[in-house]
Amino acid sequence: MERIPILRIGEFLLVTIQVDMHDQMALALQEDLTERIDKTGAKGVLLDISALDMVDSFIGRMISNISSVSRILSASTVVVGMQPAVAITLVELGLNLPGVLTALDAERGMALLRKNIGAGVDDAGDAQ
């Protein structure tokens, strides 16, 4: 089965979805990404969905799961590049992706990840 590549850039993982995913492919990505976060100790995931012309409830759930699982593994996920038509459709479908961080493009997404990592360190400091 074709798999979505996961690139490592420093302490971040970069995923760009460029194919029309069938459901097994979306599930495989979720598993692969979880494994890579665990193996690399990555602090952030940038999930670029700018090439996706549709997000249905299955892909929406994948995005939501990736975000939740990475958070539990102490990494932040930022979803970038969602097309406006996709966003309108998602909300009408009934999916609001609560708790999922988003940014308009990869550059802003990267800035948000860096900021989050900084904030994470501060939080840990406050807790002690």
């Binding site: 549709m54 299955f58 097309q83 038509a85 459709t89």
Partner: protein, 135 residues
């Protein structure tokens, strides 16, 4: 409302669901639907095609171009399976309720994305969901 175009897509595998989405996208583009309208129709088709595959044990999708009396163009999609059917329609049409492992947004979500929505089902009789989206 005479149909001017009709085609059929088998729904037997996840790849077929992807093909169904692509077929609907192409037809909606050809009919001059806006990007948002295309996206809504394709997303509804994806939800319903997955239902046909997972809950209906496979089936097929039919696509038709409709022309209303006022010349308005629409696309009608039917999703047909010979599966177990739906015993409790009220429950099936409840947001967030799922008989499987999904989010329970397939039927209710696709209803919101369509202009018209019709579902025919009975236990042991299979299910046929028809949606229309007018341009």
């Amino acid at each position: 409302m005479p149909a001017t175009h009709s085609s059929r897509q088998e729904l037997r595998s996840e790849q077929d669901v992807v093909r169904a989405r692509q077929g609907v996208r192409k037809l909606a583009q050809e009919q001059g639907f806006s990007l948002v309208e295309q996206t809504k129709l394709v997303t509804a088709a994806s939800e319903l095609a997955r239902n046909t595959l997972i809950h209906g044990g496979g089936g097929h999708m039919e696509m038709e171009v409709l022309t209303a009396a006022d010349g308005h163009c629409g696309i009608q999609l039917s999703f047909v399976d010979q599966g177990p059917g739906i015993a409790d329609m009220r429950l099936a049409m409840t947001d967030g309720w799922s008989s499987g492992t999904g989010l329970g947004l397939g039927l209710t979500g696709s209803k919101r994305l369509a202009s018209e929505f019709n579902i025919q089902s009975a236990p042991g009789q299979g299910t046929c969901v028809t949606i229309v989206r007018w341009k």
